[in-house]
Symmetry: C2
Subunit: 447 residues, 2 copies
C-alpha cells in the first residue's frame, strides 16, 4: 500500500500524522496569527524533513515549517493518491515530427500530477504528456529511461553507455532530435562527453534539466522541456547542446554549446552560462532563434561516428597557495595518465611544483593547463612561470573550460594512449571547445 503522505519525513511527517491529513486533502495550517488554506501536496522522496507544502487556491505552492506552535485541521478530504488518468492523444497526431526523450535522472525526470502535485520518480511517455501537456502540440514524443540516478553519481563509463544509446537511436529511429533529461549537477560534463563521443551528428542532441522540482512553485521543468523539444524539432544545428532558462524571467531558454557551458549558480533557474562565448541560440515563443552562424548543420545519419571510450585515469587538479607538489607525485604513483591543472591567472602554478611536473612528464603523463579564473584564456608565454611550465611539457588549453578539458582528456586517452597523439587531440578544436578564431597563443601581435 502506498503511503498517504508520500515524501514526508521527520518532523513534518509526525506533524501531519497527528492530524490525520493525507495528500490531496484541503487543509488549514495555523501559526500564531497566520492561517494558510490549501491542498496538501506530496513531497519528492528527497525533500527536507521540516516543511509541509500546500498548494494555495491561487495555484502557488508554499512551504510551512512544522514548528511546535503550528496546528493543522483537515477542511475537506481529497481523493488521495490514486493513479492519474491517461493523457489525451497528442493534438495534431501523426503529422507532428518525432522526438525521443532519454531519461537519466535528476529533478526534471520526475513527473507531477497537476491536481495534487503528486511526484513520481520515473519518466514514461504518458508522464511527460501529463506533466507538460503543451508538448503534445510540438512533437510526437517518446520517452525511455536509461538511468534514474543523481547526476553526481554519473561516471565516465556511463557517458560512454549514453553515447552508444544515443547513437543507436540516431541510427534506428526517425527522430528529428533527441532530448536527454539530466540532473543539473554534472550536466555540463556529460554534454561535453557526448560532444566528443558523437561525431558528425545528423540531428540535434539537447540536454535539459531543471533547477526547481515540479512540486515547487516557480518550477522550470515545463519551460525547459518545451524549449528542448522545440529545438529538437526546429533547430538548424546538429550538435550536442544544453537548453536551460536564460534569465530569471520565464520567457527565454538559451541553447548552449556543450563544450562552452557550466553551471554557475547553485539554485537559480538561469544557472547555466556559456563561458567565453554567447549561447548558439535561444527558444522564445515557440521558435528557435540562432545567435551565431557558426554551427554544424543537420546532415546524413550515415556519417555518424561514435568514439565512446573514456579513460578515467585523468585528474583535474585545482591549484591554491600551499598546494603540495607531493599530490602530483601521488597521481603518478597511482597510475594516472593525464592531469588537467586549474592554475591561477594566465595559467600558473607555483615554481615549487616544477620538479614534480617534470617527473610526471618523464613518466609519460599528459599535462595541460586551464585557468581557475573561468573567463578568459591561458597564455603561457607572457610570464616566466608560464614559459617554465611550457618547457616542461605542459600544454596550454587557451580558453577551454577546466571541466571540458578533463572530459576531453579522458576521451582522448580512451581513444589512444600515444602521448603525442593525445597532445595533438588536446590542441585541436574538435567540438567548439576553443572559441572560434581564438586559439591559444595566437592573438598577441599587433602587426
Amino acid at each position: 500500500m502506498k503511503s498517504e503522505l508520500p515524501g514526508y519525513r521527520g518532523k513534518a511527517l509526525k506533524f501531519l500524522e497527528k492530524s490525520g491529513a493525507k495528500v490531496g486533502d484541503k487543509i488549514k495550517i495555523t501559526k500564531g496569527e497566520n492561517a494558510f488554506k490549501g491542498l496538501l501536496m506530496p513531497r519528492i522522496a528527497l525533500s527536507d524533513p521540516n516543511h509541509v507544502v500546500i498548494k494555495l487556491v491561487s495555484g502557488y505552492n508554499i512551504g510551512i515549517r512544522a514548528d511546535a506552535g503550528a496546528k493543522v485541521v483537515v477542511l475537506e478530504q481529497g481523493e488521495g493518491m490514486k493513479e492519474p488518468k491517461l493523457p489525451q492523444p497528442p493534438v495534431g497526431g501523426e503529422a507532428l515530427p518525432f522526438v525521443l526523450i532519454i531519461g537519466t535522472g535528476g529533478t526534471i525526470a520526475s513527473k507531477v500530477e497537476y491536481r495534487t502535485g503528486a511526484v513520481f520518480p520515473s519518466l514514461s511517455t504518458e508522464d511527460l504528456y501529463r506533466t507538460v501537456p503543451e508538448l503534445s502540440k510540438i512533437a510526437r514524443v517518446k520517452a525511455s529511461v536509461l538511468y534514474n540516478i543523481f547526476s553526481e553519481n554519473i561516471t565516465p563509463k556511463r557517458w560512454g553507455e549514453l553515447a552508444e544509446a544515443v547513437a543507436a537511436q540516431v541510427r534506428e529511429s526517425r527522430a528529428k532530435g533527441i532530448v536527454i533529461a539530466h540532473g543539473t549537477d554534472t550536466m555540463a560534463y556529460t554534454a561535453a562527453a557526448l560532444a566528443f563521443a558523437l561525431q558528425n551528428l545528423p540531428i540535434p542532441v539537447i540536454l535539459v534539466g531543471s533547477q526547481r522540482s515540479p512540486d515547487r512553485p516557480s518550477s522550470d521543468v515545463a519551460i525547459n522541456l518545451m524549449a528542448a523539444v522545440t529545438a529538437a524539432v526546429k533547430a538548424p544545428f546538429a550538435e550536442v547542446t544544453i537548453a536551460m532558462h536564460s534569465w530569471i524571467s520565464d520567457e527565454t531558454v538559451s541553447i548552449h554549446r556543450a563544450t562552452k557551458v557550466r553551471k554557475c549558480h547553485t539554485s537559480r533557474r538561469d544557472a547555466f552560462q556559456s563561458i567565453n562565448a554567447t549561447p548558439i541560440g535561444e527558444v522564445r515563443g515557440g521558435e528557435v532563434k540562432m545567435l551565431t552562424t557558426d554551427y554544424k548543420p543537420r546532415g546524413d545519419a550515415g556519417k555518424l561516428k561514435v568514439e565512446s571510450k573514456f579513460d578515467d585515469k585523468v585528474a583535474l587538479v585545482k591549484f591554491y597557495p600551499g598546494f603540495s607538489p607531493t599530490l602530483i607525485d601521488r597521481l603518478v604513483a597511482d597510475g594516472y595518465r593525464g592531469i588537467v591543472f586549474e592554475g591561477t591567472g594566465l595559467g600558473h602554478i607555483s615554481q615549487s611544483c616544477f620538479d614534480a611536473v617534470e617527473r610526471a612528464a618523464a613518466k609519460g603523463l599528459v599535462l595541460a593547463m586551464t585557468s581557475q579564473c573561468i573567463w578568459g584564456e591561458v597564455r603561457m608565454t607572457v610570464y616566466d612561470t608560464g614559459r617554465d611550465l611550457l618547457s616542461r611539457g605542459v600544454i596550454p588549453l587557451g580558453d577551454m573550460l577546466p571541466e571540458t578539458a578533463v572530459v576531453k582528456m579522458m576521451w582522448a586517452l580512451g581513444k589512444t594512449q600515444r602521448r603525442n597523439d593525445v597532445e595533438e587531440l588536446m590542441k585541436a578544436n574538435l567540438a567548439g571547445e576553443y572559441s572560434a578564431g581564438r586559439f591559444p597563443e595566437q592573438r598577441r601581435g599587433v602587426a
Copy 2:
C-alpha cells in the same frame, strides 16, 4: 653596464641588435606596406621573445612582431636608459595624510619612466611618485618592499609574515591606511588570509594589483593605485579589501571585501568580482562612495589582534565525474588535517566517495563543502547525497567561496588542532565570509 635593450630576448632581441637600435631611440619599423615610427620602448624582464614595442607619437604603445620580413631603421638617437630625475616633493607636503605601501611583487610593483617607458622591478617611494605623480596630491606615501615574487609563489607561511608586517606598521606608524601591492593571480587568497589573521583592525588595509603592466597601453597601474591610496585616506571602513577596476571603462574602482572576491578573468582589467555580494564601496572622481552600511568602522589601534599561523596541511579538492575516492585516502595517509571539497550544485560528491569520507572523518580530518558553481550557496539538506555527507561529518559552508574556505581552514587549524573548535570556527562568520543574514541552512522556510 646595463643592457641597452632591457627586457628583450629571443627573436626580438636579435632583430634589434642587427639594427644597432637602443631603447629611447626614435626608430622606424617597416613591414611590407606598413611603417611604424616611434620611440623604442624597453620590455619588462618577463615579456615574450617575439615582439618589439614602440611608443607612437600619439603616446600609444604598440607591439610589432619581429618577423623575417620586418626592417628597422634608427631615425634619431635617444639618451638611452639613464636614471630618471628625482621627483618633485609632494604638493601639499606635511599637511597630507600618511599612507604606507607594502610591495610584494606582481605587475603593479614595477615602475615605469614615462619618457621611454623604462620598467624597473622595484618599488621605492620615489618610483611611486615618478610612476603615478598624482599620488602626491592624495597622500604622503612611503613605500617598502617586503617581497618581489610572482604571486603564484606566495605560500601560507608568507601570508603569516605579511600579516605580522602589516600589524607592526599599524602599531608603529601613523598611517591612515595601508596599501599592499600584490600580483593578481593569488591576491584574493592573500586578502582572505589577512582578513582572518588581522582582527579588530583600526585602519583599512587595501590590496591592489594590475592586470596590464605599465609598459603596455591601457595599463591599470595608475588608476588602481590612486584609488587604493584614496581609499586608504578617506574610507570609513577598517577591513581588508581589494581595490581593482570595476568595469572596462576607466572611471571607477571597486572596493571588494577580502573574503567575497575572486579573480574571474585571466586578462581583463575588471577581472575581480565580488561573489554573492556587492562590492562594499567604490572610488570615483577621487572620492570613496560606500555601497553598504555593513562594514567595520575605523577604530583604536590598541585592540588589534594578530593570529598569523596557517597550517598548510589542508587540501582544496574539486570534484568531477570519475573522481577517485583513493585521492581522499592519499590525503589522509599524507597527514592532511583538513579537506575543503568543491562539490557540484548544492554541495554534492559521488556516493562512491562516502566510505573514503567516513574514513577521513574517523581519522580526525576536518571536512567541509563548498560549490564549484561559485555563485549561490551549498544546501545539504535538500537531497539525499547532501544529507548522507552531513551525517558523515561534512560541514556545509553556505555561500563561502572555495578559495576563502581553504584559506580559512588553514588559519583555523593554525590556531587550534581541536577538531570541534575548528568546526565551530568554520561555521562562524568571522570576516564577512558568509553573506550577512545568509548563513547555511537557514533560509528555506516560507512561514
